[in-house]
């Protein structure tokens, strides 16, 4: 008998090798208690959270929590059904109405996760004979959406406008084309040149989908994301987003002005063949989305945090993923996985949680300590964070 698990042997060996050096397993952390959007108890120790994507700190917002409690009382714990059968409650419609208003678009469709939103939309709209042109550093949910569909997949070098243009020009003029981009790329926290890329894509007759998961709520005048910031939102055909970052809950969505968009609800399998979000989640989400429309002070503070952390880490001598803070993600580049894991553990011992990211999730085989800031991090916490990075960095020998 062939053991189907033998294909994982190399990964199992790498993992065992890493743990044998004495470091803790970076992928089995448990938060025993969560005190606020920025503080939790991990291994019995009070820990500053710097790797949650909880950009706007909405997880503990009083209005958001009150809406969830009320929905739990009024509508029960779950829907036990698909959106197209018994799983669409008042809360789901309210969530979609809030999204339409937030983005000022005609249609909004809520999925059970952001992953499913990409999976569903991409695999459904690009079919046999169509082309999907995507950035090589696209998120796993985009790649999986491609794999699930029947389109031809063409990748171009990360954020390379010329590489995109060349490939578009080589494709058959009459073929259906979908260009898939992200506003902020989550590994390095860098922003895409959407303005140029969308212009080129439109000139080639392509439709454009932009994943704005990491920009909602604080990039662009109305917090609609990088496409809004660069003045090209009106040319984007589909925006994909998530509730599990700035919104502070869980779920995913697509908003669009396409006149035929509503047919997606019948043909998109990751929308149809799964249960809808629980009433409390959609109630929390709708309340949070509406609050995100009005919070310029929080946005300004988040940007201040991001810039301060970026400058502080650079001054300490760490190598960062971007030359300046382009988003609320600051990626610290580690020399290798062993050093990265040691640094991650040293930070945790110092009461600081960040994400350890490694290949294949990362570009160019890099090991990263990924930090994501929150509008609720105080300036004192940011100074604390820098102190802890300095102590851990010196202890591990990275700076």
């Amino acid at each position: 008998m062939t053991d189907l698990f033998s294909k994982f042997d190399a990964l199992i060996a790498q993992r065992e090798g890493l743990l044998a050096t004495g470091v803790k397993d970076p992928f089995s952390l448990v938060m025993e208690e969560v005190k606020s959007p920025t503080v939790a108890i991990c291994n019995g120790k009070e820990t500053i959270l710097l790797g949650t994507y909880n950009y706007m700190g909405m997880t503990f917002d009083d209005d958001v929590i009150a809406a969830g409690k009320k929905a739990l009382d009024d509508f029960g714990a779950g829907t036990t059904g698909s959106r197209v059968l018994n799983g669409t409650f008042q809360g789901h419609k309210e969530c979609e109405d809030a999204l339409k208003e937030f983005y000022d678009m005609d249609h909004a469709m809520v999925f059970s996760t952001g992953y499913q939103a990409n999976l569903g939309i991409i695999s459904t709209i690009a079919g046999k004979g169509d082309y999907i042109i995507l950035d090589i550093d696209s998120h796993a949910s985009i790649y999986d959406g491609c794999k699930m569909g029947d389109a031809e997949i063409v990748a171009f070098r990360h954020n390379d406008v010329e590489a995109l243009e060349k490939r578009l020009k080589r494709l058959p003029a009459e073929a259906g084309k979908l260009v898939v981009l992200e506003g902020v790329y989550s590994m390095l926290g860098d922003v895409a040149p959407l303005k140029e890329m969308i212009r080129i894509s439109k000139a080639a007759g392509a439709m454009v989908l932009v994943d704005e998961a990491h920009s909602m709520g604080f990039i662009g005048k109305h917090g609609r994301g990088v496409a809004e910031e660069q003045g090209v939102l009106d040319q984007v055909d589909f925006i994909i987003g998530t509730f599990s970052k700035s919104v502070g809950t869980v779920g995913g969505f697509c908003v669009s002005n396409h006149p035929k968009f509503e047919i997606m609800r019948l043909v998109c399998r990751p929308y149809v063949f799964t249960a809808s979000l629980p009433p409390a989640v959609v109630a929390c989400s709708a309340t949070s989305i509406r609050k995100l429309m009005h919070n310029s002070n929080k946005r300004a503070h988040l940007w201040e945090n991001s810039k301060n952390l970026h400058k502080g880490l650079r001054d300490l001598g760490f190598q960062l993923g971007t030359p300046e803070a382009q988003s609320a993600i600051i990626a610290v580049i580690m020399p290798d996985l062993e050093k990265g894991a040691a640094m991650w553990e040293a930070l945790l011992a110092n009461g600081l949680y960040v994400n350890l990211a490694r290949p294949p999730a990362t570009p160019a085989g890099m090991t990263l300590l990924r930090c994501s800031l929150c509008a609720e991090h105080s300036s004192e916490q940011v100074s604390d964070i820098l102190d802890r990075f300095e102590r851990a960095g010196k202890a591990v020998g990275i700076i």
């Binding site: 997949i153 990748a155 490939r167 085989g365």
Partner: protein, 80 residues
């Protein structure tokens, strides 16, 4: 030289700058096994071939190209 031999020589020339181990390149040389290319090298090489021949090699097609002979076949077909 036959068309196929010519195509092989041209592609071999494109492979050389990426052939860090100095592996002897024949039609049966595999990219992952013999040349030990990682995904990053593959991407750079594919871009090089695409630009040289003004073609697009989709990821669907790349998945079927395991050795140099497969690549010769694929590029020949795409430039036909």
């Amino acid at each position: 030289m036959t068309d196929r031999a010519e195509m092989f020589e041209r592609l071999k020339g494109l492979i050389e700058p990426f052939n860090k181990k100095g592996v002897e390149v024949t039609e049966t040389t595999t990219f992952a096994g013999d040349l030990e290319w990682d995904s990053l090298t593959v991407m750079d090489f594919v871009a090089e071939v695409e630009d040289s021949f003004d073609i697009v090699i989709s990821m669907n097609l790349q998945a079927e190209i395991e050795n140099v002979g497969h690549l010769v076949d694929a590029v020949t077909k795409l430039t036909d």
